[in-house]
Symmetry: C2
Subunit: 496 residues, 2 copies
């Protein structure tokens, strides 16, 4: 049986086949939408240092007072109406194009960690080599559909040049969709220029091949770095993901309802700006929210309050009619890839995926509230990505699934293992994790009583040593490399 099972093809899923969970009813959703409108009408959003953005909103009929923009109820939502409900984000390998929206699910690795850890070398600052390792690992797994963005911070590269090495790595070491620089309009522009070297300007005039993640400076502020980068991506018709960042009680009031309403308010305004810059620009309604331990002030992840906000934000995004990037994913405040890490992560991922989110940041590797990408946690999370994508397929209640022939072949008290029905299905029936199981207690003890994180170490090493880069024309690779060299030469190193 083992050999038959081992040779079975591994399924790779990209969509959901079970309904999205509706945690709130229409009346509650309408109340949250009305609260978002109240925020935009009575308080408003500030665009700091971006007169172009202010002009766009003034011309669209919003009220602009200094840097503050306020909206009549319903106005911001109506400005979002030109955004597509679903679109393709193109990969340089067409087989890896992803759909954002509808019943599609796009998982990506963690984003933004300054540290990495593994059980051999411990916790340390992330380097470009670590960044490239995680791009390779993401390329190697079929459970992640997207290469991510700042997967980890390559802290050995000057701050102002990192985006060049990151975009170069995404485009050469992987062939999955990716995200570009957003930490200044220039970096956004260079990222798009590099994508054009691969995809061609004509193709990109019509299609999105790169995403920019625009973090809102919650509460209720867009600074010119972020709104400037947003406008660069939107002008180029590339995908803008708008992600308010709210820890309840700090950047917004202390309740899931308030977090949801404020996220919607802030998100709609960013999406509206993208639509004003370029109507029809592909956007994603994102969020990054969580809770705090209100005694210690520590950030917490996977809490019931955060998971509730995650679930309702999927509903609100569906009603807004744009793809949703969830504030969930495999997130945790834990310092180790232990029971707490998976408790936080698994709960957050259930909230994320059952509620119908379309794109999931931080689906693998996250620890310490995002300070660390853990090589072992990455592998553990991949197994759970696979389990959840399998769960999202649901199951069929068909004659073949019911196995009537097996009952006729056996009978009460008899074993089904050797029935023809079991033999027909066992090779593909159950999801198989990649981390080897511990086995019975005695075997497990003899083998050193290894926890799941310890058993995961071999897997990332195997994946890295088996890695081979996807094909890329030499001329394109040279052009990318030349561009990076040229831009790096033109800038002094900056380390802050």
């Amino acid at each position: 049986m083992a050999r038959l099972g081992a040779s079975a093809p591994v399924a790779s899923y990209t969509r959901r086949n079970i309904p999205a969970y509706q945690v709130l009813d229409d009346a509650a959703l309408l109340a949250i939408e009305a609260q978002a409108d109240w925020i935009l009408d009575r308080i408003g959003i500030e665009f700091r240092g971006d007169d172009v953005a202010l002009d766009f909103f003034r011309e669209a009929g919003a009220r602009v007072d200094g840097q503050r923009v306020t909206f009549e109820p319903g106005h911001a939502r109506s400005l979002c109406s030109t955004a597509p409900e679903q679109f393709t984000l193109y990969a340089r390998n067409p087989e890896k194009n992803v759909q954002l929206g509808g019943d599609h699910v796009v998982l990506m690795p963690g984003y933004g960690s300054p540290f990495v850890s593994d059980l051999d070398r411990g916790r340390r600052y992330a380097t470009l080599e670590d960044f490239q390792n995680f791009v390779k690992l993401t390329y190697a797994t079929h459970w992640l559909h997207h290469s991510g963005g700042t997967v980890v911070e390559p802290t050995d590269v000057p701050v102002n040049k990192r985006y060049l090495d990151m975009v170069f790595s995404h485009l050469t070491l992987s062939d999955k969709p990716f995200m570009g620089g957003v930490t200044s309009p220039d970096r956004a522009r260079d990222s798009i220029t590099m994508a054009r070297l691969v995809f061609g300007p004509e193709f990109m005039y019509q299609n999105a091949v790169i995403q920019g993640n625009i973090n809102v400076n919650s509460p209720l502020i867009y600074d010119d770095t972020m709104s400037g980068a947003l406008r660069v991506y939107a002008e180029a018709g590339q995908c803008v993901c708008v992600s308010p960042a709210i820890f309840s009680g700090a950047m917004g009031p202390l309740s899931p309802a308030a977090v949801a309403a404020q996220t919607l308010a802030e998100g709609m305004v960013g999406i509206a700006l993208a639509q004003l810059v370029k109507p029809g620009c592909p956007v994603v309604f994102g969020s990054f929210h969580s809770t705090m331990n209100l005694k210690s002030g520590a950030l917490t992840f996977g809490s019931p309050e955060a998971n509730l906000a995650t679930m309702v934000l999927s509903q609100l995004g569906h009603r807004l009619g744009v793809p949703v990037r969830s504030g969930g994913g495999h997130i945790s405040a834990s310092n180790a890839a232990d029971g707490q890490a998976m408790q936080d992560s698994v709960g957050a991922m259930w909230a994320t995926l059952l509620s119908g989110a379309h794109q999931v940041w931080h689906a693998a590797g996250w620890l310490e509230g995002g300070l660390v990408m853990s090589y072992e946690k990455f592998i553990m999370d991949l197994d759970h990505c696979g389990a959840m994508m399998t769960l999202l397929q649901g199951f069929e209640a068909t004659e073949e699934a019911f196995g009537r022939d097996a009952y006729l072949e056996t009978g009460p008290g008899e074993n089904f293992l050797s029935t023809a029905h079991t033999l027909r299905h066992f090779a593909t029936a159950n999801f198989q994790p990649d981390i080897p199981e511990g086995g019975p207690f005695e075997t497990w003890s003899e083998n050193g009583s290894l926890r799941a994180d310890q058993r995961a170490t071999a897997q990332w090493k195997t994946m890295l040593s088996a890695y081979e880069p996807p094909a890329l024309e030499d001329s394109i690779k040279t052009a990318l490399s030349d561009f990076v060299t040229e831009r790096k030469t033109a800038m002094k190193d900056e380390w802050y």
Copy 2:
């Protein structure tokens, strides 16, 4: 802030306030129900060695051929129709009565482990002291509503006398509802007799105060031990939980659809027998199902296939109109309270609770596929029980939750921590786990880099040392004690 937070009352929840998730549509549910009918019509169920049960079914119009009973489609379901949709399971402390059915949720500890483990003493055979410890810990937490049954096997007591010590412990060390012996009709009868010493025969004539868990010998067999015990509980009008036990591919065909249909078929027949013995007898539609690693043959828990079956079994139970005991809970095949343990457990618990199960076995402590109750895992699971019960409350989208006054008090870019709204709510806003958080990496490292399971050790020790038994009249305690002594004296020790 810390002191205010520390003095806040801790909520204890017993019901859900968010909708049950519907993974399958009506057409698929009808197909599964039709398959259950097909099994009962074409294959049937064997009652081995229980002529009384066979007579009940014959008189009810089922077809009895030797020990095999088959049913016309719809007949078994119609025999279940006298079972109550919701009922009270009484505790000796009326404040701890539980409702089974409706929007109520009843969580209980693990059941049946022959081993225990803790980080100080390692893994070892469970003793009566361990059993009593887990009854005390269950009494001490407000996240478990029910004392359970064979929480662990007290292996230092003769097999044929364990039930006496277990029922005595439940009735004296706790005041929550509990389960009695089922491993023979005599043991079931004695368990009920002991309950009568506490609750009085008149009260028990009208009301359920004890549960018996009737495991089906899946596939499709009830042996006389189990059907005999079932009849004893039913005759006394006490609660019968019928739990088919199916590992897909072994005790039934290899698919979630088949597991669901067979569980329904086996469950309906047990419930029907309880109704034939005593119409209106309170019952619970239970299940215990999971998957196997089909390469290694090892049992697996929290798999996507098992979680899908768990979710649809809640739907099928709701349609049958009886309370549902979920096959989920905090279950895992892991040998340690590590990341795998919580990954398996948390996923299974989401499937269990989001789908609307009413009673949950194994909500705390389970490891190694049920071979072990872990003191540390018990504490970790309690925290997740609390988180899930909090999640099940949902949230309100009200003016007060939206915190408009906080926006008027602050503004864009300002912190909400010191607003009047935050001060009004921070003491009760967020669920607080009992396991202390690790803190920032530097602090955590200085404190020994303790994983969640290691930080949980202090908690169970604190709970045990703070334990004080609930009040019980001396005369009742003496009567119970005398009964145990009398019964033990009348029997020789049996160790198998």
